[in-house]
């Protein structure tokens, strides 16, 4: 039993890294607009499919396909906000939430039209098989792609934290999240700030989608499962808080992989496990682990 422990830890880390990349965008949007964007997981899905198209159909080199994909998704996020979410910015948060479910379905439909509804994978590109490294007498197998995944996620999250803490734009994002009206009185352009949030969050989600696409198959509904995990992560950690999203993602990533590895519960129960953890935690700590004032924020 114990010999699989290193591998389970490694898979937990990978899952947590992906969930964090997706959850930070959700939490940034929530911090400013106070609604849960159900179309956010679709940014990951669209990013993964765009990468597939650029690699397979256009035969672009990987780095170019990667950059084009996340830039395109960043623009998609900004355009969706400007065309759709901005119109209901002043309404009750229920409206943008329902609209985001519609946007999510629309994006899935578009992807199904273009790529078909089936399962696809980057591996059909005929690349050389992944290079692997073994540790603990072969009990831990790591692929080069997985190392890349963890490294990219790690660097991006540190960069995001530094950006939010020290850059002038980062500070203004936090100021707008605290109080839009007062931020506007300081001469901060609130519309532009919200665009930055959507662009940034969408790009991070797209990168998460591309990275997980290297590990699993792509399906047009993959965004939904990712969003459920990211959503659970940020509720656990406390909404509107980037470090909370990271903490929540670690808890979700580790507990789901440990429960599936060490209990008879089958892998098809993944989502059920996530919600069970979520409900348990909300009973114990209703505001999330780091979100002492989350409830007050929501009611504000």
């Amino acid at each position: 039993m114990l010999e699989i422990l290193p591998q389970v830890i490694w898979y937990s880390l990978i899952a947590s890294a992906i969930y964090t990349l997706i959850a930070v965008g959700l939490t940034l949007v929530f911090g400013i607009l106070e609604f849960i964007n159900f179309a956010h997981g679709e940014m990951a899905m669209v990013g993964a499919y765009l990468l597939l198209a650029f690699l397979v159909n256009f035969k672009f080199p990987f780095w170019l396909a990667f950059i084009l994909s996340f830039v395109a998704v960043a623009i998609l996020g900004i355009v969706l906000e400007k065309l759709i979410f901005k119109k209901v910015r002043k309404s009750h948060p229920f409206k943008p939430l329902v609209i985001s479910i519609g946007v999510s379905a629309l994006l899935q439909a578009v992807v199904i039209l273009i790529f078909g509804g089936g399962v696809t994978s980057y591996l059909q590109t005929g690349d050389q098989p992944a290079q692997t490294f073994e540790f603990f007498n072969g009990n831990l197998v790591i692929t080069d792609h997985q190392i890349l995944l963890i490294a990219v996620a790690f660097v991006l999250l540190i960069a995001l934290a530094l950006f939010l803490k020290f850059s002038k734009t980062g500070k203004s994002l936090r100021a707008v999240a605290d109080n839009k009206e007062v931020a506007a009185i300081m001469g901060i352009n609130v519309d532009r700030t919200i665009s930055i949030i959507f662009g940034l969050g969408s790009a991070l989600a797209a990168i998460g989608g591309m990275l997980i696409g290297g590990e699993q198959n792509l399906t047009p509904t993959m965004g939904l499962a990712l969003n459920v995990h990211a959503f659970a992560a940020l509720i656990l950690g406390g909404v509107g808080n980037v470090y909370g999203a990271l903490l929540g993602a670690l808890i979700i990533g580790f507990s789901e992989n440990f429960i599936i590895a060490f209990t008879p519960i089958p892998p098809s129960f993944r989502e059920a496990i996530v919600f069970a953890i979520l409900i348990l935690m909300l009973i114990v700590k209703p505001n999330g682990l780091l979100g002492a004032n989350a409830e007050a924020e929501v009611r504000k």
């Binding site: 936090r174 100021a175 007062v182």
Partner: protein, 234 residues
């Protein structure tokens, strides 16, 4: 320096202000008093383009402010401390102050602005790395004041700077206003604490139901019988 003339404005529904006139000259402290809901805050918000103006004008040194975006208004030397706790709670004191100089591009100048505000508010320097939400109400009000002074404005708009503060702190806030005025910044303020505000003011306006009711020198309004009965509790 600022002339509000026949201002009729609201928030899209019925008008809140009706033909309101207010003037501020350079170096003055002018206070607007009046009951809750009279439209005092609405006057200040109108200056910052946050209301729908039906007619009337807001002129600042011969220039019409009503068509300008907020950043341009700030650039011309008008800063605004809105009503209520207006600090950014999850930003540190220093980050709050930096936001006051958001429109400045030059980082070096911002350092200099910061330095000057810390000289005026030594307590803020001690607490510069503390999250603003951990400060007392009085300290938060000082952060708001300091933040509005980052750009050395020529005109400062204050919406109820003394609200919710202990009497001793209230005096401290008004003393700061006097110092700000002495340094050459005019102040247009809205206050519930009418007696004390008028004592510190050169002139005052009484607003009722969105209309000018009375105006005069601060001292005269303090002596005025009607004002005394209605707002000073005499």
């Amino acid at each position: 320096m600022l002339t509000i003339k026949n201002l009729t404005a609201g928030y899209g529904g019925p008008n809140i202000l009706h033909d309101v006139n207010v003037t501020i000259r350079e170096g003055e402290i002018v206070t607007i008093i009046g009951p809750n809901g009279a439209g005092k805050s609405t006057i200040l918000k109108s200056i910052f383009g946050m209301t729908k103006i039906e007619h009337g004008s807001i002129r600042y040194f011969e220039e019409n402010l009503t068509a300008l975006p907020t950043s341009e208004i700030i650039e011309r030397g008008i800063c605004f401390v809105p009503q209520g706790r207006s600090v950014f709670p999850s930003l540190t004191v220093e980050e709050n102050l930096e936001m006051g100089a958001f429109i400045r591009k030059d980082k070096k100048v911002v350092r200099k602005d910061l330095h000057e505000v810390y000289e005026k508010f030594p307590k803020l320097y001690e607490r510069r790395h503390q999250l603003s939400k951990t400060l007392s109400g009085g300290e938060q009000q000082m952060v708001s004041l300091g933040r509005a002074l980052m750009l050395q404005p020529r005109l400062l708009l204050l919406d109820e700077p003394s609200i919710g503060l202990a009497p001793q702190i209230v005096t401290e806030v008004f003393e700061k206003c006097r110092q700000i005025k002495a340094a050459g910044t005019a102040i247009l303020m809205v206050e519930q604490n009418a007696t004390l505000a008028l004592e510190y003011s050169d002139r005052g306006y009484v607003l009722e139901l969105g209309r000018n009711r009375l105006e005069g020198a601060g001292k005269d309004l303090l002596q005025n019988k009607q004002v005394g009965e209605l707002y000073l509790g005499k």
